[in-house]
Symmetry: D3
Subunit: 227 residues, 6 copies
C-alpha cells in the first residue's frame, strides 16, 4: 500500500526527517511517499500559519491520487477536515494519531509542544476529538520549530525538564511529543523516563496501515461528503 505523508510546510529538511520516521515504522510492503507543500509558510505556529498552509496542502494531496491513505505531518493537524472532504481514503493528522495512541497505552497523557502560541490550537483539537479528558496538560518548550531542527543541548534540556514536570505535576502516564521534528527523540526519552513517549508520525503511519487493512475509508455521508 502507498501512504502519502505530507508535510504542510515547505521546509524540505523537516520532510526528510518525517520521511525517516515514517519509514522506520512502516511495514516492508508499505510505500511511504513523503512530500511537502510547494507553497506556503516554512513552519506552522499559530492560526495564521495553519490557514496559509491549507491551499498548498490541498494541492499537494491532489498530486497523489493513488495514495491508499494520507498522513498530515504537522502536529496541529492542519487542514484535516478539508483533506477528508477532498479524498475518500483514510486521512490522519499526526496530532490526532498520537492522542489516540496515547489513549490506548495510558490513562492520561501530556503533550509537549514548541511555542505557547500553538497550545490553544492543540487544546481545541483535543476537545474536538473528544480526547481532552485524557490529556493531563499541554506544555510548551517555547523553542521554535526550526530551531528544534538543529538539536542543540539547551533544546533537549528544556524538553526533558517539561517531561519531568508533566510526570510529577500533571500525573501524566505517557508523553506525546508535539512536533513532527521531534520524532527521533522518541525511543531515547521513553527509555530514560520509563514511560511511553509517542511520536505522531509513527502513530499516524501505523494507524493508516491499520485503517487500510480494515478496508475502511473516510465516510462520505455527512461532514465529509464531497458536494
Amino acid at each position: 500500500m502507498k501512504i502519502l505523508v505530507v508535510n504542510p510546510n515547505t521546509t524540505v529538511s523537516m520532510t526528510t526527517k518525517i520521511a525517516a520516521a515514517a519509514r522506520a515504522v512502516a511495514r516492508p510492503d508499505t510505500e511511504i511517499i513523503a512530500t511537502n507543500s510547494q507553497n506556503g509558510p516554512a513552519s506552522i505556529q499559530g492560526f495564521l500559519d495553519v490557514a496559509k498552509c491549507v491551499p498548498g496542502l490541498l494541492e499537494e494531496v491532489g498530486r497523489h491520487p493513488d495514495a491508499d491513505a494520507i498522513v498530515i505531518a504537522c502536529f496541529d493537524d492542519t487542514g484535516l477536515d478539508a483533506v477528508r472532504t477532498l479524498v475518500s481514503v483514510p486521512v490522519l493528522g499526526i496530532g490526532e494519531a498520537a492522542y489516540h495512541a496515547a489513549s490506548m497505552v495510558a490513562n492520561k497523557f501530556s503533550v509537549i509542544t514548541t511555542l505557547s502560541r500553538s497550545v490553544p490550537g492543540i487544546e481545541n483539537n483535543l476537545m474536538r476529538y473528544g480526547l481532552a479528558q485524557k490529556c493531563a496538560g499541554v506544555r510548551a518548550t517555547d523553542i521554535p520549530v526550526l530551531k528544534l531542527e538543529e538539536g542543540d543541548p539547551a533544546t533537549l534540556f528544556k524538553i526533558r525538564s517539561e517531561i519531568r514536570e508533566a510526570i510529577h505535576q500533571d500525573n501524566a502516564e505517557a508523553i506525546v511529543l508535539g512536533c513532527a521534528g521531534m520524532a527521533d527523540l522518541m525511543a531515547q526519552l521513553s527509555e530514560e523516563f520509563g514511560l511511553p513517549v509517542i511520536d505522531g508520525v509513527a502513530a499516524g503511519v501505523t494507524f493508516a496501515e491499520a485503517l487500510v487493512n480494515n478496508r475502511l475509508t473516510t465516510s462520505k455521508i455527512g461532514a465529509y461528503s464531497a458536494d
Copy 2:
C-alpha cells in the same frame, strides 16, 4: 509478532468466528493466538456477566506470557483495566478499538449492539474513553449474543433496520457493530449502506499491530502500575 485475542466468554464457536475475523486482517507475519476463558459465563450481557468473566480472562492472559499485544474480544471491553495492570504489552478492547477507528473515518458514529441491557455499559465505556461526544447513539437490536451466532434472516433484518435509523435519526456517518459475533457482516453492510461499518476484532488486531510497531507498551506509571 504474536497477538493474543482472548474471548472472555467460554463459547468456543464464538472464539472460532473471532479467530477468523482476526486472521482476515492480520499481517502475514503476525501470529494470532485466539483463545477463550476456560471458566465463566457462556456469553456476556450486562454487568454481572462482565464481573464473572474477569477471573477466567486474567487466568487465560496469564497462560500466554509471550504475547506481544492482547486484544480482549468482547465488545464491553471486559476487564480492560485489570489486564492492563497485569501485563506490560499493549492491551486493547474491541469496543475501544472500534470507537477509535470510527473516530478516524467519520465525524460521528453510532453503535449497534445486542441487548438493551448492554447499552449502559457501552455508554460508560464511551464516556470513560472520552469518545462519547463522537457517538451519535447506542442502539440495541435485542437479539441475544448466542442467537446472533445462528445468523437467521430476522436477525439480519433487525440489524439493517437499526443501521437505517442510525443514519437517518442519529446522523451517524459510520456504524460500529457492537458484538464480536457480528464480524462477518462488516463488508456486506458497508457496501450496502455506503458508509464505514466497523468491526472491533479487525480494528483491535490492526491497532495492536500498530502499537507494537510503534514499540509502545502499556504505561506502568500511575493507573496501570504493577504494585
Copy 3:
C-alpha cells in the same frame, strides 16, 4: 467608526444583501464597508469550501487596514482564528455573534441552516465557543445557499416548517437563521412565530460597534499573538 463586513465567498449578489442587512442596524456614524473575497468558491458549504475561502478572505482583510472592526459574513465563521491573528481590531463571525445574541435573549436556541453538510461545522463552532449547551439543535433545510437567494415559496415553506419543529421538538426559545442570505426574513418570521429570530449579520455589526465603543481589541497574548 468603520466596520469591514467581508463576505468570504465571491458571490456579489450575496454581498449586496449582506451590506443592506448591515446598514439596516448600523448607527448613523458607522461606515459599513461591505466587500467580498476576490478569489475562491462562490458559496461555502462544508469543510473544503471553508478552507478554500480563507486565502481570499485574508487578502481582502489586508486591503482594509483602516477598519475599526471586522465582521466575517459567513455563518460558519470562516477563518475566524486566522483573521484574529492577522489584525488587532475586534473580529466577529456572524455565526458566533448570533449565538452570543441568542444566549442573551433566550435560555435555549435552535439554529436553522442550509445543507446537512454544514451542520457538523456549526456544531464544532458551538462547542468551541462554549455555547453548545445553549443550543437545542442545529437543523438543515437542505436548500443550497444560492437557491436561497432566489426566495421562492418552497424555500420559505421549508424554513417555516423547521422553525415550527425547533419550537415544538427542541423546545427552542429563539431561532438563529444560519445563513447570511436569510437576513431579510428575520423580522417577518420573528413576528409570525412570536419569538426572537436572530440574523448573524445584524448581530455581528452591532456587537462590533459595542466592542469598539468598549475600546476593546483582539488580545495579542496567547492564541492570537502575531508571531
Copy 4:
C-alpha cells in the same frame, strides 16, 4: 433609547460610579437611567446577599416600565432570570456581558473578583452560560466591595498582582474585572498589561444597545414566559 442600569444594592456612591461608567460608553442618543434598589443589602457578597437583593431589584425594575433594555449592575448577575421573566425588553447582567465580550476578543479569560466567597457564584454563572470553558480561572483579591470604593494603593497592588498571576499561571489572554466598583480602572490596567481588561458595566450597556438595535426582545416562550 433608554437603558435602565440598576445597581441591586443600596449603596448610592456605587450607583454614581456605575452611572459614570455607563455614560462613558453609551451612544449620544442613549439615555442612561442609573438607579439602585431602595431596600436591601449595602453590598452583595455571597448567596445570602444575592437572595436579599432580589425583591428590591424587582421593585426598582417595576418603577421603570419605559426602559428599552435593562442592565443589572452587579457582577453576580443578581436576579437575572427573575428580571427576564418580569419584563419583555432585553436584560443583561454585567458579569454575563463581560464574559461574552471577553469571549469575543480572547481565547481564554480570567476573572478577578473581590471576596473568595463570591467565587462559587461566579463559577456557577459561567457554567450556566456555557462560558466556563473560556474561563481560565476566577481569582479573588479578598478586598471587600466597599473598601474597593476607597481606592487605596494596597487595593490596586493586590489587583495588579492577581492580573499578573492570571496571565502567567492561568494563561489568561484577557481579564474581566469582576466588580461594578472597578470600572474606572479598566483603561489604565489594559494599557499597563497589554491585554484587554473588560468592565461589565461598559460591556452591558453597549451590548444592550446592540440588542435593541437588533430589535431583539427577551423570549417569552419557555424559561422566561410570563405566566
Copy 5:
C-alpha cells in the same frame, strides 16, 4: 432530632400534604416541623415565583433556630444556596434529594414535573449538582401545581402517560416525581410500572436524618460562609 420541612409557597393545603409525606418516612424519634412561608406566591412556577418566595422562606427558616436539619419542600430547590449560607445545619432541597436518591437506585432517571416553564430551572439545578448526566429527561405534564392538588383522573392519566414515555423513549430506569404535591402517588405508580418512583419530600427527610446521624453540618468555608 427536629427536621424543619418548609414549603416556600403560602398554600397551607400543600403544606399539610408535605407534612404527611414527611411523617410517613421519618423515624419515630424524628420531630417533623412542617411549615410554610407567611408571605409570597401561592405556588412556584418559573423564575419569578422562585425569586419572590425566597424572602418569606428565609424569614420562616429564621423562626426555627432549633432545627437540626432543614428540608426545602419545593421541587425547584428554592433559595437552597441562601438558606445554606444562613444556617449551619444540613439543608436539602427536595429536588436535590430526589436526584441523589434516584442516582443510587438506577443508572438513569427521568423527572416528571408540572409546567413546561419549570423545566429550565430543573435542568439548571441538575447541571449545577452534577447530576444532569444521570438524568434521561425532564418532562412536563402541563398541569398547574394547584390543580394537581385536586387529584382528578385526567391529571393521573397525563402523569401515567409521561412515565410510560420516559421508560420507552428516554430509557429511564427510575422516575422522580417533580412536585411536592405528588407525594401520595409514589407507592402506587412504583408498583404499577415496576420501577422506583421517587418522592423528593421522603428522600429529603430521610437524607436529612442521615446527615444529622453522620454529624455533618453545612460547610462554612467557601461558598456558604456566613460573612
Copy 6:
C-alpha cells in the same frame, strides 16, 4: 432492618473497624451484618485488586439473601454494578455514598486516599456518578491501606498535610476520607480543620437506611436488569 456491610478484601481487622464505624451511626433498630470476602486480595489498590475481589464479594453477598440493603465497604466501590445486577435491594458503595454526602453539605469537596495508583479509579467513579464537577481534587497520601491500620504518627501527619493543601490549594469546602480504614479519624479531623470530614462507611450505612425507609429498591429495568 438488616444492612449487610461487606468488606470486599479479606483483612478481618479492617472488617472489625468497618463494623464499628457502621454501628456508630446506625439506628438502634438497624442490624449491621459486617463481613468480608472469604477469598481474594488482602487489600485493594489499583484495578487488578478490584477485579480479583469481585468474585469473593459476589459470593459473600449471595450468603446474605435476607439483607434489606448492602453497603460495599471499599472506597473504590468494588463491583458496585455487578452487585446491583445480582440483587434487588438498594446497594451503595462507600465512595459513592461519601461523594453524595459531601455534595449535600459543601459546594466542592476533595478526596484524600491512600496510594496514587488508586486515584484514577476514584476519578473514573466520580465521572461516572456525575459528581466529578463537585470534586476539587483527589489527593494521595501514598500510605498503603494496611499501614494505615497501624495508626502511626507519620501517617496522621501526612493526612493532615493533605487536608491543609486541599483547603488552601483546591478550595475544598469538605473532605472525603478515601479509605474504609480511616473511619475513626473523622470527628477528630472535622473539629480540627473546621469543615465536614466525611467517612464513607457512615455515609453508606445512613443512606442505606434512608433508601430502605423510602421503600426504594434497585431498578430492574435497564442497566441492572437480572437477565
